[in-house]
Symmetry: C2
Subunit: 349 residues, 2 copies
């Protein structure tokens, strides 16, 4: 089947580009001696995770327990879950999963450590726990090396746990100083700091400039998107995920309506103007989304699409787009090669 | 099972409130002699559609062919699809569906009419087609009564089609004048204008002020959300859909992190500040989302949640939230009563 026969809107993945994206980052990280632990939240597809491992990744990263369950169910053994797991039911699921895969997790508070310790010691397991620290993003993470060292000591002493290192997202100029200061504090206790896990696609090609970082977690690199183009992390020929849409209306000379809206592209702007790049009409602006309509402003576009024409959109943010589809279509040279269920989306998280 | 036992983040629907919301709009529309044709894009759940029909709706509205297929598959007979259906594969699906349900659709261009006519006449069907017009929203729809009348005549003459009336979204002060002018133009041809379909939840209680409108399509009313609260269309005690989340981190005094982000709430702001209302901490601001984290600014909140605490979020926009979950949990008085698959989401649209 040719991609022109697919009903729209449809999320299409160029298999050659996915393969090349996986190889390119792996080669770069290998060259610099940095472990690659790609984040599967972007694709949520076991077969792509297996491609990443085959290329040389040391394991994968999952953001949610259900993602990890889906990946373990597909035979993946090395899974890092850089998220605070809390609550009896989630801890029970985590421990069940630990029987089937080599898990590591993170914590940024004593409450999380105590919950993990209770669950892991009941299970008779030894769970590696990394301390999450804040490199300036102000999301999760301890905010001082002293806090990091205190939490590391707590983990090292906690039944069922093992101190697994430090984790941050994304890497910034604050990362290395934070790590060095924490290491100095831990030395007094004889606590070794072996793993420092950093991450992010926008600045992935600078991973080697963070001397303390031993592994890198990137997700978006596998597909690329309009934000990563704007960030200079990928080039147009690397963009592997696109959404094919149909022009369903041309109410005025300056306006076209696509059959995809916020339930197709999401409302993520990531600071960009508009909601995607229309490859065939680069001067058209996908300016407004309702749930199932995308409004295109053609006032600056000398070329204009006709009703019924199919146009290809590179979305702002590929991770949330693949999350909106039950399946993506893998293509090569315009021919459909595989339908991949987005296995790890939408479930009990 | 009590809702406190559900893993978070989880989308929960209060069944008594859903029932009351359905009844309230039905009573209002009945009182004013306006047909009710609720839009199922909000819930995408056949059982709720059946509740809406049982309350007195004349049929349902679906925005996408896959929604209509899911609803017809659940035994629903009267389905309006106010969307331009284009392309051989979609038209074929539409005609297959027309064997199982009484369908009506819309068109706003000759291209769409010709496609529908070819497909319907091949099928030997008579498909009602309404002309979509623009009441000032500048999405789809013809922009002048003359265009509306011309398209109505084309539909009336087209093999396999029947002129089904006019459709717009949402109703505005431009709606009635547009309809009257179009009716006058059609009178010369002896074309009756029987159905005028309007829609929208924000101003649903003004439906009766549009004298020309014969039926109303509202979707969001069934759940309610933060935007509808701001619009004054619903009150807090009507909000039926909420997302229960867990506080997974308290990195600083002024910051809490929830285990739901843009893959849970979507990035829809609809012009509001922040991404949801936290019921237990109304002065806390859900200020930033990443994919699986929600950052809460507690600087104005005298009360502060603890790590592990569960908090209830009324999202900005319920329609895109239910679309992000494979299932929602129906509860009554805090007890789980049903798990509803969000049947009509994410498929081949």
């Amino acid at each position: 089947m040719h991609i022109s026969e697919l009903d729209t809107p449809v999320a299409v993945v160029d298999l050659d580009r996915v393969h090349a994206n996986i190889e390119r980052l792996q080669v770069y990280l290998d060259r610099h001696g940095i472990h690659n632990r790609p984040h599967i939240k972007t694709h949520k597809i076991p077969e792509i995770a297996h491609m990443q491992l085959a290329a040389g990744a040391v394991g994968i990263t999952c953001q949610k327990l259900d993602e990890a369950e889906a990946m373990a169910g597909a035979g993946i053994q090395e899974i890092f879950l850089p998220y605070n797991i809390l609550g009896e039911r989630k801890l029970e699921r985590l421990m069940l999963l630990s029987r089937r895969a080599n898990l590591s997790v993170t914590a940024d508070s004593e409450v999380v450590v105590r919950g993990l310790s209770a669950a892991a010691s009941r299970e008779g397991a030894t769970l590696p726990v990394l301390v999450e620290f804040d490199s300036g993003t102000h999301r999760c993470g301890v905010v001082s090396p002293q806090q990091a060292a205190d939490l590391a000591r707590l983990i090292a002493r906690a039944p069922g746990l093992r101190f697994g290192g430090l984790m941050t997202y994304p890497c910034t100029e604050l990362t290395d100083p934070f790590v060095r200061e924490t290491r100095a504090l831990l030395r007094a206790d004889g606590l070794a700091l072996e793993v420092v896990s950093g991450g992010g696609t926008p600045k992935m090609w600078e991973a080697h400039t963070h001397a303390e970082v031993t592994e890198h977690r990137a997700g978006t690199y596998v597909y690329g998107d309009r934000f990563m183009l704007a960030a200079g992390a990928v080039q147009p020929e690397h963009c592997a995920l696109s959404v094919i849409t149909t022009v369903v209306s041309r109410p005025t000379r300056d306006r076209a309506i696509l059959d995809g809206g916020s339930k197709t592209f999401s409302s993520d702007t990531l600071g960009l103007e508009g909601f995607g790049l229309i490859l065939e009409y680069p001067r058209a602006r996908l300016s407004t989304l309702s749930e199932e309509h995308g409004t295109v402003d053609l006032s600056d576009s000398p070329e204009q699409p006709e009703i019924g024409e199919r146009v290809t959109v590179i979305p702002n943010h590929c991770c949330v787009v693949s999350n909106l589809f039950n399946q993506v279509i893998g293509v090569r040279n315009g021919a459909v090669e595989v339908t991949w269920p987005v296995a790890a989306r939408g479930g009990v998280r």
